[in-house]
Symmetry: C2
Subunit: 150 residues, 2 copies
Amino acid sequence: MAKPEIIKSVTDILNKYMTRHHMRKTQERFKILEYVYDFDTHFDVEELYRYLKEKDFAVSKATVYNTLELLLKAGLVRKHYFNDNTAYYEKSYFNKSHDHIIVRDDEGNVEKIIEFCDPRIELIKNDLEKIMGVEIDDHDLYFYAKAKKE
Amino acid sequence: MAKPEIIKSVTDILNKYMTRHHMRKTQERFKILEYVYDFDTHFDVEELYRYLKEKDFAVSKATVYNTLELLLKAGLVRKHYFNDNTAYYEKSYFNKSHDHIIVRDDEGNVEKIIEFCDPRIELIKNDLEKIMGVEIDDHDLYFYAKAKKE
DNA sequence: ATGGATGCAAACTGTTTGCACTACT
DNA sequence: AGTAGTGCAAACAGTTTGCATCCAT
């Protein structure tokens, strides 16, 4: 269970976002947000769907998809595509921007995902904005690795 | 049509790879490789499938998938996931490693993809290998941007 | 000749859509 | 009351799988 003050804070952000966009403030949206914040790592739609059911707050998959899309727009989750064609999400508020090292075993299965943060990305971003004449608002950096044999 | 010397060279690489792995050297594999090298940008399975048909070298989709997987393992193509859940490929030989800026319009549709190359990635990679104790063999860096309004 | 590769269609998986019903405003 | 949001199932898209056939070895 995520800390109450965090729940309060993200709920507030969602609330304001929905007000600003004239959206209805449904039970589902708030509850899903809360449960999303229980996850400390990446999860896919299926996992969240089952988790909600387990917590006796069963909703339809359509609602899970819709709500995650909303949370994404509100900046409360991030969406990633790792090596398969499934979308993975993770909470993003109070969880500063970071990148991933995807460690695979010899069969190519994901063994673990290491998170890291490197300020040089920001420098590259700034230079690219100048050189390419674009406005960059996000990035994803994945390193693909094998665990070092010892 | 890709330059004959390039075709020769990549065919040779594929040939050696298949020998090394005791694989059968079928027409399909060589032909698909050739046609893959006609593409100067990213393409998905569907596009390649249609292109082959158009060139009167129709093969089944299963073969397209299988062969792309082979080319991937042989290091002759790269595979990317952009914003949707479709895999995109691009030739990788004689086409040095690079990263992407995905430029979207206001509706979120991909407007264009800019390629770039920055040596600082290599520095980050080296540091991570030391710090995290992993062996990194590849990476993907995506910047998400909007075209700058003027 | 043998079995790895292909072709085709069917199965599968993740995601989207359509429509009736529900409940927020 | 009106309509955005939800639930459910069916549709969809990309990918994988199973099996008969073919062809590289």
